[in-house]
Symmetry: D2
Subunit: 331 residues, 4 copies
Amino acid sequence: MTVRFGVLGAGRIGKVHAKAVSGDAHARLVAVADAFPAAAQAIADSYGCEVRTIEAIEAADDIDAVVICTPTDTHADLIERFARAGKAIFCEKPIDLDVGRVRDCLKTVAETDGKLMVGFNRRFDPHFMAVRQAIEDGRIGDVEMVTIISRDPGAPPVDYIKRSGGIFRDMTIHDFDMARFLLGEEPTIVTAHAAVLVDPEIGTAGDYDSVSVILETASGKQAIISNSRRATYGYDQRIEVHGSKGVVSAENQRAVSIEIANGEGYTRPPLHDFFMTRYTQAYANEIASFISAIETGTPITPSGADGLAALALAEAALRSVKEKRQIAVEL
Amino acid sequence: MTVRFGVLGAGRIGKVHAKAVSGDAHARLVAVADAFPAAAQAIADSYGCEVRTIEAIEAADDIDAVVICTPTDTHADLIERFARAGKAIFCEKPIDLDVGRVRDCLKTVAETDGKLMVGFNRRFDPHFMAVRQAIEDGRIGDVEMVTIISRDPGAPPVDYIKRSGGIFRDMTIHDFDMARFLLGEEPTIVTAHAAVLVDPEIGTAGDYDSVSVILETASGKQAIISNSRRATYGYDQRIEVHGSKGVVSAENQRAVSIEIANGEGYTRPPLHDFFMTRYTQAYANEIASFISAIETGTPITPSGADGLAALALAEAALRSVKEKRQIAVEL
Amino acid sequence: MTVRFGVLGAGRIGKVHAKAVSGDAHARLVAVADAFPAAAQAIADSYGCEVRTIEAIEAADDIDAVVICTPTDTHADLIERFARAGKAIFCEKPIDLDVGRVRDCLKTVAETDGKLMVGFNRRFDPHFMAVRQAIEDGRIGDVEMVTIISRDPGAPPVDYIKRSGGIFRDMTIHDFDMARFLLGEEPTIVTAHAAVLVDPEIGTAGDYDSVSVILETASGKQAIISNSRRATYGYDQRIEVHGSKGVVSAENQRAVSIEIANGEGYTRPPLHDFFMTRYTQAYANEIASFISAIETGTPITPSGADGLAALALAEAALRSVKEKRQIAVEL
Amino acid sequence: MTVRFGVLGAGRIGKVHAKAVSGDAHARLVAVADAFPAAAQAIADSYGCEVRTIEAIEAADDIDAVVICTPTDTHADLIERFARAGKAIFCEKPIDLDVGRVRDCLKTVAETDGKLMVGFNRRFDPHFMAVRQAIEDGRIGDVEMVTIISRDPGAPPVDYIKRSGGIFRDMTIHDFDMARFLLGEEPTIVTAHAAVLVDPEIGTAGDYDSVSVILETASGKQAIISNSRRATYGYDQRIEVHGSKGVVSAENQRAVSIEIANGEGYTRPPLHDFFMTRYTQAYANEIASFISAIETGTPITPSGADGLAALALAEAALRSVKEKRQIAVEL
């Protein structure tokens, strides 16, 4: 079986997915749509597919699945439309910035018996997958404490930040998903601290750039998350899971691993400086997993419910900062 | 000048300090006291000093300084007595489990113009000193986020735990001191989460064994602390300080650093399994710093006020757990 | 410009190159040839190209370049035929097992003004490229000592070994090329020691499985090479270059970089277990470099002369072992 | 039992051993001798022992053992004298620069039934001991290939070099001993290459500063040694042993292990810059082993024969360079 794809949105992340689909032996890229025809055409030229409108893709008989890479505020609507159209849906995170809207959208997906995968790409990073596998294999016993340190090389433009829903919904949301992926039990309490240490403009835009979060589960397992919109040394992405029998961690990744030593010391190059090069393999694995789930009819993970849960944690974290107190959550 | 010492308490840590004093070219071990004469005699035999009573050391003309290694509940009284006796005082942490008692004790020290150093040995670990030095040298710019992961190889006996004042006053207190040492600004808010994940007996004793803490300063700098009374792989002691220009971290230490590789992978030995071997150099540096401060008349650090501040953070953390809310502190 | 390719030989390494050509935006895979039509057809199916005979490719107007992945004993003949046919040639190493035959072949290439690249893929490994770049950037000053440790996860079948020309021509040849790539000066003396420590059958076949080599240049720079046909922990490929100002080294690579710690210690997974996964990026970079050299008309490296030089060093090493003495070489 | 010591020679290394003896609970430092009385007095003052002449120590009833730290050209004579005087002898390497003289000296030791330990301190480094232990524990199976990289932070003064016997007898000798310690089988062939790359004055003095050596045993095991009198990044001391089941290696050591990351990369401090700080623990372990062997009457290792064997390998290496050929040795 070959899964036939339409890609909606021909921006940066759309290109990543178009390439992943094209390169997958079990898939075929049929069409791409974008509000800017030139952007769609560029993808079409590179990968030998057609440019179509969203409506045409929605109505197409020769398309089984879509990848939604359009702006966030269109995600929920498109999910609903394509769920009704019977297409399998891969949607970039987040489904929406509003928990209520997400719930409504997922209701439609459920009613239409839709297939929906949400783009938490980090679950498909080979190193993080291996961490999870080590846990499942019992290598560290019962999970007790999760530590996630996640720092971006630099802050996005303030314009982006204004539309992003804030650092918890835009950046920490990946870590919330990762914490859930690793804890093996839902968080029930969220405490967050946040500050503007990197760029005052971010504060002026109503957001934060440096945050610390503790998640606690019903049985007392704890996850701590440390985020910064600044990391001079590259894209810092570390996870560590401490359990009753040991600890497992994933090291940071760099494009080139040499070491130069002289009188100043021993120096290795900075880390990857961009999420796309850091997570190249993760993006490919992610789409392959989506295709495989469609082919085999197995449940799709991460699901819409996973998207909702991470968003709910983000909302709780924001409330924790605003109200200066712990927030109970029920996922 | 040679600083002449009496050591009070001939237990495990008393021996460490007696050895450090004996081996220091600027100091001489004159006498040791202990409620168990045999313990004192053992030290006297090893290092060629006298056994005396605490009273005799208090009154002695040939002793300039004392090292207090007796049980915690005697610390404050002994500090007051020896401050009045005009001896320089090194006291193992904590001064007392009660903040009020510590305040009173420090008042006496101040009134007698006493010299008091509190035993936060980790400040003298060569690696942690180098981290602090890197900050002072401007290598990472302004400090923004501190991460401290501190796990003991195993929990102490429950009997000890019952007298310990709880994990925050007994174990995390070192991390509170380290956070203050590194943040460069006093914490003003403490949030803590705590659970019993390692040993239910610890819970029965009214304590916790797994805790997560966030400290926040007035300007928004944040420190996160992760503690566990369990670490199957040795004594886990890591610090990391993230700043505007970079990050500095101290690696874990092991007694033997070889690596064996085979079909199972690449394996390095576990870490030090005991705080005394992990911090051998720190203990020696600590006493040397105390001696040097006496000789040169320079201020002693960490001071009684540092001991008080760390204890106040520990109390706040405990209240945060009990009252499930953030606690404001004024140090 | 698009470089149009034929691939000769549809075995393991032929597939690697067919994929690399297909995935390169500046190239197009037109045809593939193999003595076993089914093998050729499999590649044709995967990448949408034609199956043709070698003769047809030789005569084709729509093919600019060929990749020679056929058995070693056909390399020199095919190079000569395709040089005369005016195609650019990428040939897997070695050109031939006999230095005299290689010299003749390169003479034909020169006479026909042919373009020939020899497949020393390791020069294109990102990490080794970065080592070379560090040298060129003056980061370690003048090169003095090169250390190459290269161990295979396991020995190839004895049948292969019998046809391989022996460990020096088959395995160490890569390290001879790497030493030349890094030394910046031609070796003039070769000393080699060799033994059978891994598998007596290898000895019965007249070969060795464990060798140590020293190369020395006219100015006294030295390279040492350590080879084994056994490495239980994966594909061990390390280089280190020591110079007047410092040292640069390339670390081993593993597919997954997690670390698990418990009472046994800290364990990272084994290395890549196969040269194709270890050098995936190198193979892609290699073909891209070949394509780029064709497009831009710049000299092709590594050239036929590089292939000859490495083979001459291999022959000298073998003579050194056989004759138990140092061998002078003139490259 | 307490072993009573005299130390002969109060220079740099004499101080190291005087301190080690003083700090050992099973030993007592009784006397020290030196041609310069002031040097001897300094040690006497530091450790509370007497200054005596060598003759007085030779004749003394209250001295059981001596540590010979005088200039190399006095070693053999002193060993003979103190062997005849019935003292246990620890002698710094080498016994003599001349193999014939060493043989004669060892004959005297044998005739007098003397106890002699030669100061190959590296055998007592905790990390190298752990490597050897791993081999003995069967962790890597049968030893096949040993790799030793040993580089000094800088060349000694040319005056020293002139008296040193040359790099093989002065520096590589440690590596020859280490190779024997790890190979588990005597080398039978030595090949060495040597050059002057660091300092032309060293060449003028008739010595080399950059050498590569291969040792081969009868069964084909191989050790490679790479030496340089230069290492801008500190005292580089690495060993690796490859066996049939795996590989074991000892990492380099640094005084402070922090890491600073910024846009330039991840930097750890240089290594120890001096053999005395690098091998502090080794020196203490070495004397403790000597004392223990005297106390328990067990054989002393490394013995005079070990000293002779390493020297014989050094001579063979020098001959290999001079005669440009492999040299057979019989140890």
